[in-house]
């Protein structure tokens, strides 16, 4: 396997960023990590995950869709789309890498979302295998092996070296582009590290969590469950879970009047918000119970019903650590589960 010594990692980052934009997780001074555009000298974060997921790269929180110029009774439509530049996201974890597959199922389904596809086509995802999973991790529940992540190319850390593996042509092209910095290396130690991580995976508090009793065929039984009232009782109706979630993809389209034109933009929206389904004549989801139910039904029942059993969750654990009242998909699954 091709590898680079960790001490030379910045040379690699410099080489990659010389050709295209490179994004990687870096530590913030509050101890959390976030993706930043690489500038020479930056150190990659060793944190397990970033607060915001990597979905931002393909589905940013806000983006301009189209502009309008209004003159008298006339409207001019201005297409503001531009071809995206090539970019690399480095250090994506296995859970976030899987989330792209899930987002693809939504945005690349007909009619294809050209905004998303544009960025997807130009982005190369380089993943990083996990060595120290956290107590909040449950990606295994969704069939993800964090020691062998998906993505265009995958990286593996054995403590001293980073090994590279291409998962597809795009990934191979990435590795080829940095081949001069890489050397052939012995992966024996890496196997040890992987084994260790897998052993930890087995011991995680949520290791036993299973999706066995969820899926598209459980619609009526879970929808009508009495548990929703208790589960949603403390929900604040904020959008934290939705916005840190790598797979939540609901959006709103809004207009902004700049004083000299109209900008139509799209922004993340949350099914937890009271106005999400509000119409001029009423609202089908009047209380937080219905909104709360929608979010989890979507991930555990509706999404698999429409996507051959694939769930709308990757077990990244962000909502577990970020929900202000610590209510989350794991608690919902455990409470709801009918065996």
């Amino acid at each position: 396997m091709l590898k680079i010594s960790k001490s030379k990692l910045n040379e690699l980052f410099d080489a990659v960023s010389a050709k295209q934009a490179l994004y990687l997780p870096v530590d913030r001074n509050d101890g959390a990590a976030e993706y930043k555009k690489y500038e020479s000298g930056m150190t990659m974060s060793s944190a397990l995950n970033t607060v915001r997921s990597a979905k931002d790269f393909f589905f940013p929180q806000t983006e301009n869709l189209v502009d309008f110029k209004m003159e008298g009774k006339n409207i001019e439509v201005i297409d503001v789309r531009e071809e995206s530049e090539d970019f690399v996201i480095f250090g994506v974890r296995a859970c976030d890498a899987r989330s792209f597959t899930i987002l693809d199922k939504v945005f690349l389904a007909e009619p294809v979302d050209s905004y998303y596809k544009n960025r997807r086509d130009h982005g190369t995802v380089v993943t990083m295998a996990c060595t120290r999973p956290a107590e909040t991790c449950f990606c295994k529940t969704f069939g993800i092996d964090p020691t062998v992540p998906e993505g265009d190319a995958a990286c593996f850390d054995d403590g001293e070296n980073i090994f590279f593996l291409a998962n597809n042509d795009k990934g191979q092209a990435f590795i080829d582009s940095i081949a001069s910095l890489l050397e052939e290396g012995d992966a024996a130690k890496l196997c040890e590290v992987q084994e260790k991580a897998r052993a930890i995976m087995e011991k995680l508090p949520l290791a036993k969590l299973s999706t066995e009793n969820f899926g598209g065929d459980k619609l009526t039984e879970y929808f009508n469950s009495e548990k929703w009232a208790d589960l949603s009782e403390a929900c604040l109706g904020c959008g934290t879970c939705t916005f840190v979630c790598p797979t939540c993809q609901c959006y709103d389209i809004k207009d902004f009047n700049t004083g000299h034109g109209i900008k139509r933009f799209r922004c993340w929206d949350s099914c937890m918000y009271s106005d999400f389904t509000k119409m001029a004549h009423g609202n089908p989801r009047l209380t937080q119970l219905e909104r709360f139910r929608q979010r989890f039904m979507h991930k555990l029942v509706y999404f698999p019903a429409n996507n051959n059993g694939e769930f709308g969750c990757v077990g990244c654990g962000r909502c577990l650590s970020k929900c202000p009242i610590s209510m989350n998909i794991v608690k919902v699954m455990k409470a709801l589960e009918v065996k």
Binding site: T62, A134, C238, F265, K331
Partner: protein
Amino acid sequence: MQEAMIKRAKELLADGSVNRVIGWKRGEFVYDVTPAVFDSAEELDADFVYDDFTAANVSKYLIKETKKEGKILAFLKPCDTYSFNQLIKEHRIVRENVYVIGIPGGPKLDAEKIKAKGITGILGAKNDNGTLRIETLYGEETMPYYEAVSVKCESCKSKKHMVYDELMGEEGDILQSNRFDMVEKLENMTAQERYDFWREQLSKCIRCNACRNVCPACSCEKCIFDNPDSGFENKAAVDSFEENMFHIIRAFHVAGRCTDCGECSRVCPQNIPLHLLNRKFIKDINSLYGEYQAGEDTTSRAPLTNYTTDDCEPSIVHERGVE
């Protein structure tokens, strides 16, 4: 304390004084505690928890809960009683429908602060004479206890309950806190430094509205930021201006009503020190219009719905401190 609380709650449920108890429910891990309403002794025994991680202020839930049938028992920490009083003052809580038991407060811990130290795989945490011993998947880790204390408890303003029907444990005192230190530090920076500080902080905002929704003072039926007719509705900050706008207005709307309970900073997923905005208003109100602590009582007029004819002019802003 937890055992005593459960015992007392069971007694009050049994003799019919209350029919529900609002408190905290145990989670999957040592730290993920959820506010919850308990209806029975069995539920209390099974899940009620009161420990280092029960930081959540449950007083806002009483708006909804006290409109229901029957009386509810609420365990309130000293800081929570300020919020409770403030909500009474604003006629949001039906006082007759709550039985308040004052309980000793923090300091409470914040798991995020432990994680920020790079400690992961947290399975348990214990205070051992000022050292926090954390059991993890990767062996035991330690850190100074005070470094894991939640932002809201870092500069506690009071250990004294402002209101209760019954008290458990010792009553404390109002403290001489250092809560305005950071505000002062910012005030003494140059405008450019302050601007840079807040840009760095506010640009992290993801507009999840957790700060607003958790805030006991944010109890409007419909927030202007959710109301399409307000002209200010917005769901995400498209421009840095909107980041500033949301946070200025959020803090302004609770100015004079904010009890400084610190929930906004506690719940912020991006660790934005939102309390520094609220504390700025509190500090200004104290220094310009006389000492005022929201939630101290239920009758006094709030500083922003009050005035004196010899109030200072806004030009004072231009005259003091650092430009």
